[in-house]
């Protein structure tokens, strides 16, 4: 969401001082932001959750800091106690970065513009409309929620056959190769005491769940909150089913691309380049 509530109140307050209406003030301060951000709320009523990632904003922020920006990833991995094995072969990734060429390998272009060449793009599960991971799962441990389109994962039913990992064309799924409780604790100090998020055992698959647990409470996904907090607003979460939503507005106004659209999975993640 473009402007969080507290920021909205602050701006509205200043605006009132100058005798302007809140909305008008925001329109002056950052035109279009309000509509783009506040639609799609209440959050618990989305029918087709999706995300529009504005890579222009994201890359700008990444280039600002000397180590790039890792806010969304830190927030997500904290929220879900994502174990860290320190071994790329066993890495568990919910939201991560990889260079443009790896994210869009089907768009090879030797002479691509410098703005994206080798640039770190944000990746996560696409919450596909037609997800092959769900099609292949023999236990329905991974399933698509009819109500809002989130591709969820029941880590307590998963048998760890890893069929879904073979089926996902986006590398969005990770497997607990070892016991997640034994993973280094630096990144997840609450683990395994954080009861807000169910513990998983070794031998199960996990992935981004679009923060179903937060969305159910009417909150934005942790990554989106983190990005909004530093006022970058690169991650826009909203309901694709609602023509008036923030994401639909962004899609109307920008040229966006999706990963591997030819496979017919219909990703619900869109990238503004």
């Amino acid at each position: 969401m473009g402007v969080d509530r507290r920021e909205f109140l602050k701006i509205a307050g200043y605006a009132a001082l100058f005798g302007l209406g809140g909305k008008a003030a925001i329109d002056i301060l950052s035109p279009g932001e309000l509509e783009a951000s506040m639609q799609g709320i209440p959050l618990t009523q989305g029918k087709r959750w999706s995300m529009v990632i504005d890579m222009r904003k994201c890359l700008k922020q990444q280039e600002a800091g000397k180590d790039g920006c890792k806010e969304c990833m830190i927030a997500c991995h904290l929220e879900h106690n994502v174990p860290d094995w320190g071994n790329p072969k066993h890495a568990i990734k919910w939201i991560w970065q990889d260079k443009y060429e790896h994210v869009f390998p089907e768009h090879p272009n030797q002479f691509i513009d410098e703005g994206v060449r080798h640039k770190p793009f944000i990746l996560m599960c696409n919450h596909c409309v037609n997800p092959p991971c769900v099609r292949v799962c023999p236990t329905q441990a991974t399933f698509k929620r009819e109500s809002d389109g989130i591709v969820a994962m029941d880590m307590h039913r998963c048998i760890g056959c890893r069929f879904c990992m073979a089926a996902c064309p986006y590398g969005s799924r990770s497997f607990n190769w070892g016991n997640p409780r034994k993973a280094p604790k630096e990144l997840n100090p609450d683990y395994p005491t954080n009861r807000a998020y169910p513990e998983r055992s070794k031998g199960v698959v996990e992935k981004c769940n679009f923060c179903v647990e937060l969305v159910a409470k009417g909150e934005l996904p942790a990554c989106v909150q983190a990005c909004d907090k530093i006022k970058v607003h690169a991650l826009n979460f909203g309901d694709l089913d609602d023509p008036k939503s923030n994401v639909r507005k962004l899609l109307r106004e920008h040229y966006t691309i999706r990963r591997k659209p030819a496979l017919g999975t219909e990703p619900n993640l869109f990238y503004i380049i």
């Binding site: 094995w85 790329p88 072969k89 066993h90 890495a91 990734k93 990889d98 060429e101 790896h102 994210v103 390998p105 090879p108 092959p132 099609r135 292949v136 799962c137 023999p138 236990t139 329905q140 441990a141 039913r157 998963c158 048998i159 760890g160 056959c161 890893r162 069929f163 990992m165 073979a166 089926a167 996902c168 064309p169 986006y170 590398g171 990770s174 497997f175 607990n176 190769w177 070892g178 016991n179 055992s201 070794k202 031998g203 199960v204 698959v205 591997k260 496979l263 017919g264 999975t265």
Partner: protein
């Protein structure tokens, strides 16, 4: 009839104890894997299946190939095979046991395996694979056992067995077709996404399985008084030759499509396997070994003189089994995962525990096979006497 399994020579017992030792080592390694997790294997986020699933695929093929003796015998009334159908059926039983064990050891959460039955999911090919494999195993146990029991009593088996036999014939084709569908319907894995996958699987199964059966027949002839027969082995060799021709032909079709179309996604896995990609080529020597062995075995099988000579036929069968095993039990899986969805290459090589578990499962399969063959052969010896 079971008691025949416990009356044997010291060679028989020595072999069983050897297999038991391998099974014990495998079990020990499995317990280690069970408690530590699959991180003790060489598999990774990018190559998330490996040796285990490769073996599943290979032995489904061996199991299906039992039909290559059953079909001529019962559909074409080729009487000569009546002598060895039991060997084909019991080989199928032992193979399916290995398949089920390979699925089991590959699971991250084996204690939850019943979830596949508690939450039946018809859209998952794995669900169907489990059904067809189990039914095929049951069919072969029932058919093999009853036919053998009837033979011992010198009577004709009952009519309902015949019905089961007719069912088992298309069923054999189904198990390998369904196993091919595990791979052939997955978007984004170019090496697997090919309509000819099931046909390739069947052809490689129908050469590798009967080749193994030939070797087993030769062993049976050596260690017992039962001779599976010269004609039988000769006919099997013909089947192996034809199936291997199809197998190699189908693979060449894949090469044509990939390299004439020049679509990178289609070419890359094959380039990785045979030449190496982005500096990773740990499968190159293996794949070339497979290619050379495949050609050599074809020559030995096609030239009538070498096909009819049991010495050269044995060599042909051994190298054919090695070639098809590398292709299906190793290359097929890794090729499907390479390059990764990010167009990178992550190397895979099985670890020692992983190999020992695999050997343990093979040993279990051969343990079961030995006992079943012992029973069958003892009955045959008695009837002959």
């Amino acid at each position: 009839m079971l008691e025949r399994a416990i009356k044997g020579t010291s060679g028989y017992w020595g072999w069983l104890i050897f297999l038991l030792a391998l099974m014990g080592i495998g079990l020990g390694c499995y317990l280690y894997q069970f408690f530590e997790g699959l991180k003790v294997t060489g598999m990774s986020r990018d190559v998330s299946w490996g040796l285990y699933i490769g073996q599943l695929t290979y032995f489904v093929g061996v199991a299906a190939s039992g039909v290559m003796v059953v079909l001529p015998c019962y559909l074409h009334d080729y009487k000569a095979f009546g002598r060895i159908t039991i060997l084909g059926e019991f080989l199928a039983v032992a193979s399916i046991i290995m398949c089920l064990l390979f699925v089991f050891v590959d699971l991250g959460n084996p204690v939850r395996i019943m979830n596949v039955i508690l939450y039946p999911t018809p859209n998952s090919i794995l669900f169907w694979d489990m059904i067809v494999l189990n039914v095929y195993m049951l069919l072969n146990i029932i058919i093999g056992w009853n036919v053998l029991a009837a033979e011992r009593k010198g009577i004709h088996y009952q009519q309902w067995i015949k019905v089961l036999i007719y069912i088992s014939i298309p069923w054999a084709f189904s198990i390998h077709t369904v196993t091919a569908f595990l791979y052939a319907g997955i978007p984004g894995r170019h090496y697997w996404l090919t309509a000819i996958m099931a046909a390739r699987f069947l052809s490689s199964a129908f050469c590798a399985g009967p080749a193994l059966l030939i070797l087993l027949c030769l062993i049976v002839r050596k260690v017992s008084k039962f001779d599976p027969g010269k004609e039988q082995i000769r006919t099997l060799a013909g089947i192996v030759a034809y199936a291997m021709i199809f197998n190699v032909f189908f693979f060449l079709l894949e090469l044509f499509t990939a390299f004439y179309s020049q679509i990178p996604g289609h070419m890359h896995p094959i380039v990785f396997l045979f030449k190496g990609l982005e500096g990773h080529g740990n499968f190159v020597p293996w794949m070339w070994t497979a290619a050379v062995f495949a050609i050599l075995s074809l020559v030995l099988l096609i030239v009538p003189a070498t096909r009819r000579n049991e010495g050269t036929l044995t060599v042909a069968c051994i190298i054919l089994i090695i070639a098809t095993w590398i292709d299906k039990g190793l290359g097929l899986i890794v090729g499907g995962f390479t390059p990764t969805p990010f167009h990178t290459v992550t190397e895979y090589w099985p670890t020692t525990p992983e190999m020992l578990i695999t050997i343990g499962v093979w040993a279990t399969g051969f343990f079961v096979l030995t006992i079943l063959y012992k029973i069958a052969v003892s009955v045959k010896e008695e009837v002959a006497a």
